[in-house]
């Protein structure tokens, strides 16, 4: 009898332990790039830890190494990340190579609707094949490439008068790409308060994605298209269209005539440094950095203002931002999905925006007070209405590196003409798509 009692107690304990496994506290690791919004997410996630009992760890990698590090991790089936906020262009590879968990069933079960998020972000960050209702990520961080400028310089009477005299126009936020160039050239080499300043800080980085993100900010407003017919990979006449050639020539002129000396390999960090050190009148960068720039004690506040990437033939901004995915090699998938469910909550999304993260949730973006909630909030909404992204194909890394090479060769290294650079780019991309069996 005594043995029977002991056995019963043992069995009950075992059953209790088994039942409690479902809600057992887990150690989750979230991987992302090391930048301002990541710090905000650490703070935000403390609420999740308190609510769920799970503990959160973070693996943040500096942007120049982010893609290398994380794609290697995924390709090797690594278990480092349970959750990954990966770049939008990775979605094709993440889905086709089985790195990301497909979230449709989970969304259905938990009542998470993609209609609650801005359509552009769902399209770009979540779906594969593009535009299909197959979701591999929840939009986590809306972003686009925008501009900021020295409002205090633009507002000075002497500078305004000098600009008027030089161009016959009023100095203000540029309304077109060509006006942007004109303003940048006006500031180039100008003496302001005893210092020589320069026109604009733009992206020229060669190693990862920098110059592509910068050049596409000119290409998209000119009407650049990757294909004549979406999904057909027919690039001749689209990638090297006269508009694309003109846009690339424009970007080179901007680089050659309106950037600081030695600005040959610059990306996000260099753009921020150039602006904060008072070297440039204008700079391009991702909206994600704008809260930090506005808060900067030296060049923020009244001294700074923001504008959307100016249109030329049409409106167009380069898409940034990321979706959050559950890594299929994770051993904590359930807890990771819990995080996604928590993160999709409108209240959490509102707090995310208030802490410096760019929510893509409609309840935040459509709120009447959103536009006035930050000096760049309205610009962010405008930018997101006309964003365009790079190829999101599984072979995106090859496509990106080819563009990095061809554009850098032309813009920075003076090799060939814009037309030749784009023709060679088509050759490179054709080879990639042939290897992929898509051509």
């Amino acid at each position: 009898m005594k043995h029977l009692k002991i056995a019963s107690v043992g069995a009950l304990s075992l059953a209790a332990a088994t039942l409690s496994t479902g809600s057992q506290a887990e150690d989750l690791t979230l991987c992302w790039a090391a930048w301002d919004p990541a710090n905000a997410l650490v703070e935000l996630s403390k609420d999740f830890e308190a609510e769920s009992g799970h503990s959160m760890n973070f693996e943040f990698v500096p942007w120049p190494n982010f893609a290398d590090r994380m794609l290697n991790e995924l390709n090797s089936g690594g278990k480092l990340c349970d959750l990954l906020i990966g770049d939008s262009q990775w979605i094709g590879g993440g889905a086709e190579n089985g790195h990301y968990v497909k979230l449709n069933d989970f969304f259905d079960k938990e009542g998470i609707s993609m209609d609650d998020f801005a359509p552009a972000t769902v399209y770009a960050y979540s779906t594969w094949p593009k535009g299909s209702p197959n979701y591999y990520a929840l939009p986590a961080m809306g972003d686009a490439n925008g501009w900021f400028y020295r409002k205090d310089w633009f507002g000075r009477d002497d500078i305004k008068a000098a600009y008027k005299e030089a161009t016959g126009e009023e100095l203000g936020e540029p309304k077109s790409q060509k006006e942007l160039l004109k303003i940048a050239q006006f500031f180039q080499g100008r003496e302001i308060d005893g210092n020589t300043v320069y026109g604009a800080a733009i992206f020229t980085e060669r190693g990862s994605e920098g110059i592509t993100m910068g050049a596409t900010s000119a290409l998209y407003p000119w009407g650049f298209k990757y294909e004549n017919t979406p999904g057909k990979y027919d690039m001749e006449g689209a990638v090297n269209s006269p508009e694309a050639v003109e846009a690339l020539e424009f970007y080179k002129e901007l680089y050659k005539t309106a950037t600081p000396p030695g600005y040959t390999n610059s990306y996000m960090g260099e753009s921020l440094d150039a602006f904060k050190s008072g070297q440039v009148a204008m700079a391009m960068n991702w909206f994600a950095f704008f809260p930090g720039l506005y808060a900067d004690p030296d060049t923020g506040g009244d001294k700074i203002d923001f504008f959307v990437n100016p249109p030329q033939n049409q409106a167009g901004s380069t898409l940034g931002g990321q979706g959050i995915s559950v890594v299929s090699y994770s051993e904590n998938k359930d807890a990771s999905l819990e995080y996604i469910k928590w993160f999709s909550d409108p209240e959490v999304q509102a707090k995310w925006w208030s802490m410096g993260g760019y929510s893509a949730h409609n309840s935040v973006l459509n709120d009447a007070s959103f536009k006035d909630s930050a000096p760049f909030a309205g610009d962010f909404l405008t930018a997101m209405e006309a964003v365009q992204d790079f190829w999101q194909e599984p072979a995106y890394a090859e496509l990106l590196l080819a563009m990095q090479k061809r554009v850098h060769d032309y813009v920075v290294a003076d090799k060939g003409t814009a037309k030749e650079a784009l023709d060679l780019l088509i050759e490179d991309w054709t080879e990639v798509f042939e290897d992929e069996g898509k051509l």
């Binding site: 794609l71 290697n72 390709n75 590879g93 030695g262 890394a397 060769d409 003076d414």
Partner: protein, 315 residues
């Protein structure tokens, strides 16, 4: 060791072990010692090499494990050898290799020759000169990036002092014409001490009596230099060239830190190109073929060179 100690050790050996060892031939014992090394060599050198050769005939991509792997014959090799960009990267490598070796040998030998003279503070100068090669390439790359900075860089200001040009009027790392030389300068700064040390070893190995005999024969200093110093240091110098040549052929870290292969692709060495193909584009089959081509090139050149080195030594 005394007789007693040997006896004591022999008696301490367990009988089982002693019996086993007793039964092994010299050849078997040799295999026991050499076996693990051969196994490791096969496992981490020979097998990967054979596997790479195998992959070089396929369209395999290491990031697309669920994709069908096809044998495509020599297509990867044809593509590489017909790719103008690959030849440009080989050209960049050759430029870097030739000029770094040229300057390092010239300056390294000169420094060694000077240091070999007996003077006060000789040891201190030797220590100061070898400092650069003790630094990490990543650190060297980083601080030379600052030195080359057109607006605040010391290098540009020093050049201004000599040329009178505006420091921000030239960009060592951003100019197509200057960037290949910028990396040559940094590598020369960092690795000349290595060549100097090897040359110094060569110079110090020359016995004084040879020079004394030459003095008695009334040979001039110049003649002594060309008929004694140079021939006797040459094997050392050739060894230094071999080491530096192999190292610089696969140069990666320093150049990535300085220029990232840019501007454009002007400093994109073969090793950087290979890394991009293998671990950024994940064209594993293609990059395997590229690696084999580089391997054959280095192996071929090194074999010819080693033969020449042996001939010089025999003289």
């Amino acid at each position: 060791m005394s007789e007693k100690t040997i006896d004591r050790l022999a008696s301490a050996t367990p009988v089982r072990v002693a019996r086993k060892v007793k039964g092994l031939s010299d050849r078997a014992i040799a295999w026991i010692f050499v076996g693990p090394t051969i196994f490791l060599l096969l496992a981490i050198n020979i097998f990967p090499l054979l596997w790479t050769i195998n992959l070089s005939f396929t369209n395999f991509k290491a990031n697309r494990l669920n994709r069908e792997v096809k044998y495509i014959g020599l297509r990867n090799y044809e593509r590489i050898l017909g790719d103008a960009d690959v030849w440009l990267s080989m050209q960049a490598t050759a430029h870097f290799l030739f000029w770094t070796l040229f300057f390092q040998v010239l300056i390294g030998f000169t420094l060694a020759w000077l240091i070999n003279k007996k003077f006060r503070g000789n040891d201190l100068w030797t220590t100061i000169i070898v400092l650069p090669m003790m630094l990490s390439p990543a650190v060297v790359g980083n601080f030379w990036t600052f030195l080359y900075q057109p607006q605040i860089g010391l290098f540009n200001y020093i050049m201004t002092f000599f040329t009178g040009a505006d420091p921000s009027s030239f960009d060592m790392l951003g100019s197509v014409d200057l960037a290949p030389w910028a990396i040559v300068i940094v590598d020369t700064w960092m690795w000349t001490p290595f060549v100097m040390l090897i040359c110094l070893a060569g110079l110090r190995s020359i016995p004084d009596y040879i020079y004394e005999a030459a003095e008695i024969d009334r040979a001039s200093k110049l003649r002594q230099f060309f008929t004694i110093t140079v021939p006797m240091v040459l094997p050392f110098l050739m060894l230094a060239i071999l080491f530096r040549g192999i190292e610089n052929f696969k140069m990666f870290d320093l150049v990535v830190q300085l220029t990232g292969g840019g501007p454009g692709s002007i400093t994109e060495m073969a090793s950087i190109n290979l890394k991009r193909e293998a671990f950024e584009k994940w064209r594993t089959g293609y990059s395997s073929a590229f690696a084999i081509i580089l391997f054959v090139t280095v192996f071929g050149l090194a074999s010819v060179y080693v033969k020449a080195l042996n001939k010089v030594k025999e003289r």
